[in-house]
Amino acid sequence: MALPVTAQMLTLHKQLAWMIAARNVPDFYQSRDQVQHLYQGSQAIRDDLILHKVNHALGRNSWQHANNLTYFKQDFAPWLQEHSSSCITGLEQYQPNFSAGTTQAFDSFYFRHRARRFRCFVGEYFYHLKTWLSNNVNWSFITPSDPLVAGDALVISAPFCDTGSMHPDYDSVIAHCNRLGIPVLVDACYYVISGGVNLDVTAECIDTVAFSLSKAFPVANLRIGMRYTRTAVFDGQSLHDAINYNNTLSAQVGNMLIRNYSSDYIYNHYREQQLEFCNAMEIVPSDSVLFAVGNNNWDEYNRSNLLQQYQLTLDSALFANRICLTSVFEHWDLFELLKNENTITV
């Protein structure tokens, strides 16, 4: 696959962003605003067929069925395990609870371990940082000079939020936490958009494993997720789960999605396009199919806008240039058109 490197190519991603934006919105100013944010965030692909199915499920008016929650809880783990290229080891050791996305699981974890110092790697999901900072919670990033110690509680995303691939130190960090009795929350919200991931959650220190459908399917506003905790945990979220006091409408849509689409559907459906785009742009494909990691040419798409949105005063240079490919997949015809215009061969 020949890939001629030209000066024009260096700005191909920018030109594509302008085309997508100009198609989406009516004028220059709105286009420019969209261009600035186009490769950021981590939103699911708005696939027309999936959206149609979601709307159809919502129109069925069967949200009152309490069984929606039971079925979702019962079918979710087997659905996860059917992934053709990834696997999770040890999930059977946990009890499932419905969760309003992964976020409810985070909040429950923060509260249960509120006496501890919270820890995460640089690049972790900004929600944690925002919650800790705005509530004067004791927390700090894990650094060589400030390592994990007894008394800490760790939040780690797997695959890792900063890159969409597993954190290179995941196994050693979990082993370290196990030795020191540090409770761990594994945020696995990218698992269902990833491939080739081996996620081991057998270590006793892992207290919570959280999943969401928000990254795989365009249902983020329905807050569909699952939390897995050790059996000894019976907190407010467990209580709500036990008495079916959860969102049956979300569970209904969740059931429809996991019955119609396998847990590797998004990964398998878009993986080839992800690789083609990354090859053309000379960026590194992530294990999460929605992402790639860009070099300095992509600095303008770093997370400075997101930091601003979260009102966080952190240096954006601390984070990888994680490129979100959702808009590219949604407008693949434009990438093809531009590719031909620039005579790129991939």
Binding site: K14, W18, R23, F28, S31, R32, V35
Partner: protein, 157 residues
């Protein structure tokens, strides 16, 4: 080029002529809204709005105070979908008696309002705003990217 003009406070059916360069787009009684699709070549353009046929009897004065006056005001000027907003003040009103009023959107005396700009208007708007505020250093690059994108999409700018 598409031009939309919006006038307010229109009193006593004032007459106007609206021109782009030498091309007359409208002549008659001023309306609240005017919209035109103009065939204009690239480059310098002048929007002229001529207020005419106002006679002394159209100004009623009682006890030294004007109580009624044929007049109107330009409220909004949109070119190719872009509201000129503050740039509309980069204009002048030249009264028939030779007096020149800068940044005057009020059509009281007979005379003409003149706004110089360029076609394509978007390019002129971006450049002028940057020249004035020095806050948009990448305007030219962004404009070129947008134009190219629109061309590839067969979309008007």
């Amino acid at each position: 080029m598409k031009i939309q003009l919006q006038f307010k406070n229109i009193v006593d059916d004032p007459r106007c002529r609206i021109l782009i360069n030498d091309q007359v787009l409208f002549a008659g009684i001023t309306q609240p809204q005017h919209a035109f699709d103009v065939d204009a070549s690239e480059g310098a353009c002048r929007l002229t709005i001529v207020h005419h046929d106002k006679a002394p009897e159209h100004t009623i004065v009682e006890n030294g105070i004007i109580v009624r006056d044929r007049s109107f005001e330009l409220e909004r000027c949109v070119i190719d979908g872009y509201d000129l907003q503050e740039l509309v003040w980069h204009s002048q009103f030249v009264a028939d008696d030779g007096a020149v009023y800068n940044s005057c959107l009020f059509f009281g005396p007979n005379g003409e309002f003149q706004l110089d700009f360029e076609n394509p208007a978007l390019r002129w708007i971006l450049r002028t705003r940057h020249e004035k505020n020095n806050n948009d250093p990448y305007w030219a690059e962004d404009y070129e990217s947008y134009v190219r994108a629109c061309r590839l999409l067969n979309k008007s700018i």
